[in-house]
Symmetry: D2
């Protein structure tokens, strides 16, 4: 699913609950092309999901199921030791709930993305990867999984026959292996917006990234992640999109590819 002339920008959206909100969703939905919508387990509720799907559909933004652990209090960032069968069922449940809103808006859920601690668990523990993969197989084997290329999670999905959407990061340093410099390590985070924009253009135009040893490595990505809970997320998203477009490239949603 990689095409270096068109790239998508995805972000986490709909991560409020009841009266609570985290990000400036409306502004972000003016910039990104793919919305990873919280499904009510770690964030999101039926009202927010409905509204988000309606906006996304009206703007031809792709809707992704941002699935996570059942943990509103911890925002899905706490690892939970859940039996694999239960995790599979939790992912199916979340997907189904979101799909109903997508369909009510005349759209469909275009991909699945694991959130927070579930994402990390799926990368680190084969059982968790398998559980998420089984959920997608049970839902629809042609539904793609958005994840970082080269991780055990991505490999397991591909081995299972799933399509994957390769995700790149503009605010994280890469190791020569193509994996990320772990959070907390020196230089892990890229906080300079100009540098993020430069990396975004290189990722989009050439499918490469400069690793933290200075080497240029292949990193063919389909979508770039904008962290919606970063300070200045809207400005970052806006600057990155402008940089990509100014480089003569197209920003387009995944479902258009």
């Amino acid at each position: 699913m990689t095409d270096q002339r068109s790239i998508s920008l995805n972000t986490d959206i709909g991560e409020g609950f009841g009266d609570w909100r985290i990000a400036d969703d409306d502004a972000l939905l003016d910039i990104v092309t793919d919305a990873n919508v919280g499904c009510g387990f770690h964030a999101g509720d039926p009202d927010i999901m409905r509204r988000t799907c309606d906006i996304a559909a009206a703007r031809s933004i792709s809707i992704g199921a941002q699935v996570g652990f059942y943990d509103l209090r911890g925002f899905g960032r706490r690892f939970i030791e859940i039996p694999p069968e239960s995790l599979t069922n939790d992912v199916i449940y979340q997907f189904g709930a979101l799909q109903a809103f997508a369909m009510a808006a005349g759209a469909t859920v275009a991909y699945v993305k694991a959130h927070g601690a579930l994402y990390h668990a799926a990368v680190a523990h084969p059982d968790y990867a398998t559980a998420v993969i089984r959920a997608i197989m049970a839902i629809n084997p042609s539904l793609p999984l958005m994840c970082q290329p080269g991780t055990p999670f991505a490999k397991a999905a591909q081995e299972a026959g799933l399509r994957t959407i390769a995700e790149g990061y503009i605010d994280r340093a890469y190791l020569p292996t193509g994996l990320l410099v772990p959070r907390g390590s020196e230089g892990a985070m890229i906080t300079d917006l100009n540098e993020s924009c430069r990396r975004a253009v290189q990722l989009a135009a050439e499918g490469t990234v400069i690793a933290n040893d200075g080497a240029t490595i292949a990193m063919p990505v389909d979508s770039m992640c904008i962290h919606s809970d970063s300070a200045g997320a809207v400005q970052i998203a806006s600057a990155v999109r402008a940089a990509i477009e100014n480089a003569g490239l197209t920003v387009a949603p995944l479902h258009a590819s």
Copy 2:
């Protein structure tokens, strides 16, 4: 959708949560033809929903979405003053979650039924009826609503163009109007199993019921409700099914009609 030679038996199923259970679901699923499956708001969780849908699909039992207020603690029996738009969204969410499990089992959700306080609210308050009806219209206008014929809820659904599945009760006395004798009134509950069986046969064979003034009134029903949380629910279900079949009538799931 009424056909007096074939009748369905529905019951509430999957009303546990985590380790907790209420009814003997496995035994009931050997007897009934239509399962009103809890969707996680007032009862049910993804594991229970998956298992229930798998069993139902394997036995050709129709799967209905038993939707309710978001109230595990009160088992959906407490009225909640929820804005109509939110209620619509809550119903869509619950339906979608169940639909994903039904589809994973090779089936589809065949109808919607409101549970507990939501059912009573939909009968008593036009706003609640409309909110549920709007949810079904948003999901799929050809998806039928199971409810008691003659109620304001049933009428509103029909006026909105929805199909309704007329439900009859074998353990409740009827007023001459065709509505139920209110709980708590003398004679409201029919506790004699032979009488319940007799009424079941009459409902199924003739589409009539004897009201509490002795008059025989028309009551064409598509399905009869077995209350799964009654003491002896399995025996009641079993006896009612046997009585209907012994009368030469067919017990068949709704999706077969």
Copy 3:
């Protein structure tokens, strides 16, 4: 408990959940003297409660239990038809949880205040008033209830022998009866900050308020409510406090009186 030379300023505090926040608690805790702390049912969680109690204790701010319906999604603003015995138990539970944090901070819960839909239910339905009152009697009959004077809720509490803390509003118009002009009616909300400050001084200095017919009526209050979720809540609180102090009056927490 009325003393017109000293007045307290209370506000709702700790109304976040997990990563979510509503108000600028830290700024408000620099201004108010009494903190109505959410107890986890409609808002608040153990981390927020601990931190809020620690700050309140360190600043000699009174800690009140802001009790509500079990409804995070609806922020406690949705009426729930709960059996009175359950409501009593819900209030005891919330109080106890908060009391543990207050005691860990070397303080104690000084009063109870009903939040949102529970407050309105307690004013409108004697059963709900009685349920809250019974909770306080079970906890500690000398624990005061903060509420609006003259309401059926306040009267029921007084008849039951409870102490009440009379609360006044600086942003709501009063009827000649001493009750509030209902929200939604013309002139119900006072949005001019100067007028709010003027009313605050009059309430504090004279124990009177000018009703919406122009008459000056008695309104002896112990505390004035600052709505923490209003736009500009911090500025309003700051201006009101300055106005009262500039008038030569003392702003002091309830537990000091």
Copy 4:
């Protein structure tokens, strides 16, 4: 706190939620002397807590706070990676809520016991042990912790200056080290009721147990655990109590010692 002539019998109680129940609480409360009451995070709700405390107080049964992870769905049996400060706050919250019901019943919470995955986490991870211990220190440093003697959790509590209540098991085999044969290992579970009774008497009378290598080892315990969710829990509890009393020993609640 060990006295071999008097022993207590504790069990988990109040582990329902809303309409759901697990064990025959009323029958167990006729037999045991110490009730580990669920506090609403993994099981239990305000209604159940109130009723359980009322019964316990009326029968002079000690009330213990059975604290667990915030996980109704997993019944507190799923490990959750929670920051230690949050865990401390969760324990304080649960204790406080229960204490309010105990006090309303004229009693007080006599001890704390960690449930399920939290118990195992506290034995296996020093951070979790410390978090629970800090909660007790914050609540009341003289409040004892019930746990298995010899575990890292028990040692950490003692080093922190907490009192511990040594708990013994009648249905689990012991290693020569005094720790338990891990579940799943051969012979880990003692399923013969006569053998359980024999071990109960030996534990109570002599403060010893026969390890799985045949050696008699010291095991001075204050209380013996009856697993309320075992099949036949009521019969087991009844038989064990009779065996101890027939041996001339006293069964008495902890708060009496």
